[in-house]
């Protein structure tokens, strides 16, 4: 046990030594990367959200995040705020209705070809549907439709399940337990907002990426 601890401490020092050997780049980079791994840290929420969202878009693989910042950022902030307002009493989250999430998913459904055609031109964009072979054409179209449906139902189901569980628990154990479930609900809502925005970005990135790379 003690030797194990010493070993790990030695590894840690060794790691630090390597880092300082490279100057303070990695020392400055390392905690930042851990912070960004959490994605929902307090500093990112209280700071300028545009900076964090832009960095995330760039991390996913879009070279000019400013072009997509308004669309993806609006999606993220809307779904996040819709989930986080759940701490207000008497509030029903708008994303708990299938109409809202279907509207958001249809926005993504149209944004993908718009960005793709703007970035690559209409012929190379449409040629993407016939890759890798022509007989994959119906499958690619069906995958576009089904991922839109999945996007809508995922957000709707997650938010709706929270309110249904809260309603059931209120009738079973009304004193303290719904508070815990409500706080778990806030976490799930934030994660789902992040996932919705990330999936929209991934779809846009797949549509705009040129295949010659």
């Amino acid at each position: 046990m003690a030797s194990c601890f010493l070993d790990s401490e030695f590894d840690y020092r060794h790691h630090l030594g390597v880092n300082t050997g490279h100057g303070n780049r990695i020392l400055g980079d390392h905690p930042a990367s851990f912070d960004r791994a959490g994605h929902l840290t307090l500093s990112e929420l209280t700071g300028d959200p545009r900076v964090g969202i832009r960095d995330q878009i760039r991390d996913i693989g879009l070279e000019h995040p400013e072009k997509y910042l308004d669309f993806v950022g609006t999606l993220f902030l809307f779904t996040l705020l819709a989930a986080l307002c759940g701490i207000l009493p008497g509030y029903e989250p708008p994303t708990g209705s299938l109409s809202t999430t279907a509207a958001l998913a249809i926005c993504v459904f149209w944004a993908v070809p718009i960005y793709g055609i703007k970035e690559r031109g209409i012929i190379p964009y449409l040629k993407r549907y016939a890759e890798p072979k022509v007989f994959m054409l119906p499958l690619n179209i069906v995958s576009d439709l089904s991922r839109t449906l999945a996007l809508a139902i995922r957000l709707f189901g997650n938010v709706m399940s929270g309110s249904v569980i809260a309603a059931i628990l209120l009738s079973v154990a009304p004193l303290f337990f719904p508070v815990l479930m409500k706080s778990l609900d806030l976490l799930i809502g934030a994660v789902q907002a992040y996932i919705f925005a990330v999936l929209a970005t991934v779809y846009i990135a797949a549509a705009t990426k040129s295949s010659e790379v």
Partner: protein, 92 residues
């Protein structure tokens, strides 16, 4: 048993089985995904940002299967079209 009781029974039992069976497979999948993500996080802490993001997206994909089952069981319990049909017909 009359039609209303039969439809209620089948709907409730099917909703229960939907949730039961439909949460087993996503649970196994998410467990495997998280365990391999933890293993690669321990091997490469520098890539933690990419690994965590991919993990979240993958978990959302897997979890949506369970969410589909939940939506189906909610439809069976609260918005069952056959139930509404039979009740409306029985009203006449």
């Amino acid at each position: 048993m009359d039609n209303i009781g039969l439809i209620a029974l089948v709907s409730l039992v099917t909703a229960g089985f939907t949730m039961c069976i439909g949460s087993i497979a996503p649970a196994i999948g998410e467990g495997r995904a998280i365990s391999s993500a933890l293993a690669s996080l321990a091997q490469q802490p520098d890539a933690s940002s990419t690994i965590t993001r991919t993990l979240f997206v993958g978990l959302a994909m897997i979890e949506s299967l369970g969410i589909y089952c939940f939506v189906i069981s909610m439809i069976l319990i609260f918005a069952n079209p056959f139930w509404n049909f039979v009740v409306s017909r029985a009203g006449h």
